[in-house]
């Protein structure tokens, strides 16, 4: 009976306070770790999302840059013109197209538009199509000795800005007005 009573003996107040203190301390540490991990996770998710958008832009642009016979970069542009236009030999598709333009809409959406073949056999620039989630705050291009440098500043929902700079080499040399014919 004495043994049973011994077993039923409770914790002292000091013990309980000590244990609660330890538990509180552990919970605080755990919470801090959790919050930290959560923000890291959010940051990584945002980074991945931005990187995916950047990759989507580049993968869409790269083949057209390689194919381009003529590259036109506009300093200022509006809804009827684009920041950059690549023109190439018509690509047979439905409908066929011989050019593609890229730019930013007024609301920061990044778009492309194709120069598509109309029924008469002529080519006309079509509608602007958005294809990424991120907004783009800056889209700049420059050409130097056959190298095309593209700088894109992507804006995430959190307001962070991510700048990507890519370099490309169009495969077909710029042929100018007379198609590059020379003696």
């Amino acid at each position: 009976m004495m043994r049973i009573l011994k077993c039923e003996k409770g914790f002292s107040l000091v013990e309980v306070i000590l244990v609660m203190g330890i538990i509180t301390l552990m919970l605080t540490v755990l919470y801090a770790v959790f919050m930290n991990s959560s923000s890291v996770y959010d940051f990584n998710t945002e980074k991945i999302s931005v990187q995916q958008d950047h990759r989507a832009i580049i993968e869409r642009m790269a083949p057209y840059i390689r194919m381009a016979k003529k590259i036109t970069i506009n300093e200022s542009y509006d809804s009827s013109n684009d920041k950059v236009r690549f023109e190439f030999t018509p690509i047979i598709d439905s409908p066929s197209y011989n050019g593609i333009g890229f730019g930013i809409k007024e609301n920061g959406e990044f778009y492309y538009r194709k120069c598509i073949e109309t029924s008469s056999g002529d080519f006309e620039w079509g509608n602007r199509m958005t294809f990424i989630n991120s907004r783009v705050s800056s889209f700049e291009l420059s050409q130097d000795d056959g190298k095309l440098t593209i700088s894109i500043e992507l804006l995430e929902k959190g307001g962070n800005k991510y700048v990507f700079v890519d370099e490309f080499y169009p495969r077909v040399p710029d042929q100018g007005e007379n198609g590059g014919e020379k003696e």
């Binding site: 390689r66 016979k69 495969r171 077909v172 042929q175 590059g180 003696e183």
Partner: protein, 378 residues
């Protein structure tokens, strides 16, 4: 009783351990899945990019065989325009890419252009590429000059030049030179002049060359009383001795006149592709080449190019309205004497090209290179 409790405590440790293990396994599993998926994405990206560059390499390799004749033994192309299977394997070996499969590599002709198209497969990824090459004719820079000399250009009196002048050394007395669009001194043209001379030397050795000891014994020369007409059209006429002139010589046609010995111009002037009766030039260009000596030609109306291996002392009587339409080149010094009038006209380059083709003369004066003018991937 104590032992029993001890056992129960052992049990709770085991369960706690198992739970930890389970959590760890789940974590590792999730990480592995995530990594696996990342790896797949990266591998796929790698294969796509690699396939694209392999397709580009295949086209690059094939572009060296653009003009190859299929009748040649072990040629790169078969009669259908498809690559020889043995050569396709050679490309794979050169690229050290055993996983690469060249499904098709084809050469097509579109007027003057060549189109190469390829379809390759690399680790399950296919890539198609079609590239168009167009011919570009590049020629020696000296052909753009009215006068060029490996040494100095000495302008010894008032002369008129309509076109650029270049000298490996100096252009002396430039104040006498009227109308030159550009004067270039210390120009790097020695090699180009050597190539032109080398080309004309090859012409001398050509089996189709007509060798004569003098104009008297030449069946293409006609004596018209006060002048001699020499027809060199599409011919290489090689005078193995001196060219002695007692009256004016009219060289007619697009061809080569090569003189081995001296030019003894006792009387008369040197004309080319000029009709004195009508006072007009023909469409032809004559190429006159002095192999040795230092010729002192007195020129009438001359349409074509004059090339001297050594010094050339030239004069045209501008007062009489005479002129050289074409170009004058000297391997060493070019002495331009008072009254000389040269108007640059590069039409003679076509004659050089035509003669090189007709007589199969190995030349480096006009090189045809193919450049990429269109690139399509799909």
């Amino acid at each position: 009783m104590n032992l029993k409790k001890m056992k129960r405590q052992d049990g709770s440790v085991l369960i706690t351990g198992l739970i930890f293990m389970l959590v760890l396994i789940i974590l590792v599993g999730a990480l592995s899945l995530s990594l696996n998926s990342e790896l797949k994405i990266v591998n796929n990206e790698h294969r796509l990019v690699q396939a694209q560059y392999y397709a580009e390499s295949v086209i690059n390799y094939a572009s060296f065989y653009l003009e190859e004749d299929v009748s040649e033994t072990a040629s790169f192309w078969t009669g259908t325009g498809e690559v020889n299977p043995g050569k396709a394997k050679e490309i794979i070996n050169k690229l050290k890419a055993p996983d690469l499969e060249i499904i098709s590599l084809r050469r097509m002709k579109d007027n003057e252009n060549y189109i190469l198209s390829t379809n390759i497969r690399y680790k399950g990824v296919r890539d198609n590429l079609m590239v168009t090459f167009a011919p570009f004719h590049e020629r020696l820079g000296i052909f753009d000059k009215a006068m060029a000399a490996g040494g100095n250009v000495n302008v010894n009196g008032k002369t008129k030049v309509d076109g650029p002048v270049a000298a490996g050394g100096d252009v002396n007395n430039q104040h006498n030179l009227e109308g030159a669009s550009d004067i270039q001194e210390n120009a790097d043209i020695e090699k180009e002049l050597a190539l032109l001379e080398g080309f004309l030397e090859e012409a001398v050795k050509n089996s189709g060359t007509i060798s004569i000891s003098s104009l008297e014994y030449c069946e293409y020369a006609t004596d018209n009383g006060d002048h001699i007409i020499l027809d060199i059209d599409e011919k290489i006429v090689y005078i193995t001795g001196n060219l002695t002139m007692d009256k004016s010589l009219y060289i007619m046609g697009s061809g080569f006149l090569i003189i081995e010995g001296s030019l003894n111009q006792n009387n008369g002037l040197l004309f080319a592709n000029y009709n004195s009766d009508t006072g007009t030039y023909t469409d032809d260009y004559a190429i006159l080449y002095f192999r040795t000596g230092n010729p002192n030609p007195k020129m009438g109306n001359f349409k074509g190019a004059m090339v001297g291996k050594s010094d050339v002392n030239i004069i045209t009587e501008i007062a009489k309205g005479f002129e050289i339409i074409g170009a004058v080149y000297s391997g060493n010094n070019l002495n331009v004497n008072e009254g000389t009038n040269v108007k640059h006209d590069d039409g003679f380059v076509e004659v050089l090209k035509k003669m090189a083709d007709k007589y199969d003369i190995p030349d480096e004066i006009v090189i045809t290179t193919y450049k990429m003018v269109d690139w399509m991937e799909f």
